[in-house]
Point group: C2
Chain length 223, copies 2
């Protein structure tokens, strides 16, 4: 990158970090756990959120979703139909959510009534990794249909994540991709990753993911 | 976006456009047709290029591939194994190729021996759309495994493309996605799109895509 590009990128990221700290403080005061869900377009982020809501209606009542898309409200509508409170953000061309969008969305939520905020980022395996949104943790979704090699080709996304959901595992045989190969490559980038092998269709892996969310919510409440 | 961000983005794009014009001139002088292939991570761009090379060994001898990835040479190696000349670019974190990367790559190619340059962009359905690489045409790959709705959610990518390959069509039934729904949504964004329904596994749609490439190469030779 040219010097001017690098300098500006740093300025933009610094401004974002300042707002992300504000968001993090608001969430800490309200004891709300925030999860930033990222992954390629079509990696199954929305489907996983809907499957989790369907599996645990109690969790769903204390959860809101901030839904990020370049355009359209298709995903927001799917999440609302799953019974979750949802705030749809359209970035209007931008390739990632930024902390200021989250700050604005929080103003429309009653934090005291929530335990969990799920932020679904724009489908993109590169840019969202650089933008702190004030979240507690990051979950990357990677579908077996994307092939075995995404963590090796887009390491930045996996390096900064806390958990990985290998999604659409019911299709692993059809696409001849071993979900464990994806997990192994991701762990080579980030050995601390918690990995979940999921299928929104069969509900495989969803209960384990929900258990982890409950544990995270509980520890945030005690914090 | 903030004013400073917009101003800088414009500056970066203007600088890129200038270099793209240089690239376009070089390619015009050499009568080489250049295709910029874009799409999500795991949409099957590399696989489609390899399938085309396998179907038409004659085309393959006069074609070079400029392979863009954030990291790794996995795709470059696959393309080399398919018998194509390949130049691997690692963007080192950047989410798209830019014209200067193509200009540098062209310096390593003997243009007079080529009819066709295929540029495989970084897997990303947002950012690469904004960067002119000096190409003649753009081909977007969208896999049925990504769902039916990508053109509606990421319209910028489809609006600026010349052709769409709906890929992995052999999996359409397994994922319950109608390839024509993807095509219809893409054509609502861009009615002029040429659409190809392809499967690298069964070779469906590959001959039509190759016919189109030959026609484009021919018309570039006459230009």
């Amino acid at each position: 990158m040219s010097k001017v590009k690098v300098k500006l990128a740093r300025k933009v990221l610094e401004a974002n970090d300042t707002i992300a700290s504000e968001v993090r403080s608001s969430l800490a005061s309200a004891h709300v756990f925030a999860l930033n869900v990222m992954g390629s377009p079509g990696s199954g982020k929305t489907e996983l959120i809907c499957a989790a809501a369907a599996s645990d209606p109690v969790l769903a009542t204390s959860c809101a979703v901030i839904e990020g898309d370049v355009e359209s409200a298709i995903d927001g509508e799917r999440i609302a139909q799953a019974g979750l409170e949802v705030i749809q953000i359209n970035t209007g061309g931008a390739c990632h959510l930024s902390a200021s969008m989250i700050r604005d969305a929080l103003a429309d939520l009653v934090l005291s009534s929530l335990d969990l905020i799920i932020i679904e980022n724009v489908g993109n395996l590169v840019c969202p990794a650089s933008f702190d949104l004030g979240e507690d943790e990051r979950l990357v979704c990677t579908a077996v249909t994307e092939g075995f090699d995404k963590p090796t080709k887009y390491p930045g996304m996996y390096a900064k994540a806390h958990a990985l959901a290998v999604t659409k595992c019911d299709l692993a045989e059809a696409v001849e991709v071993d979900p464990h190969e994806i997990a192994g490559r991701a762990r080579r980038v980030n050995p601390k990753l918690d990995v979940f092998f999921t299928s929104a269709r069969t509900s495989a892996g969803i209960p384990k993911l929900i258990d982890r969310l409950h544990a995270a919510i509980l520890s945030k409440k005690k914090a």
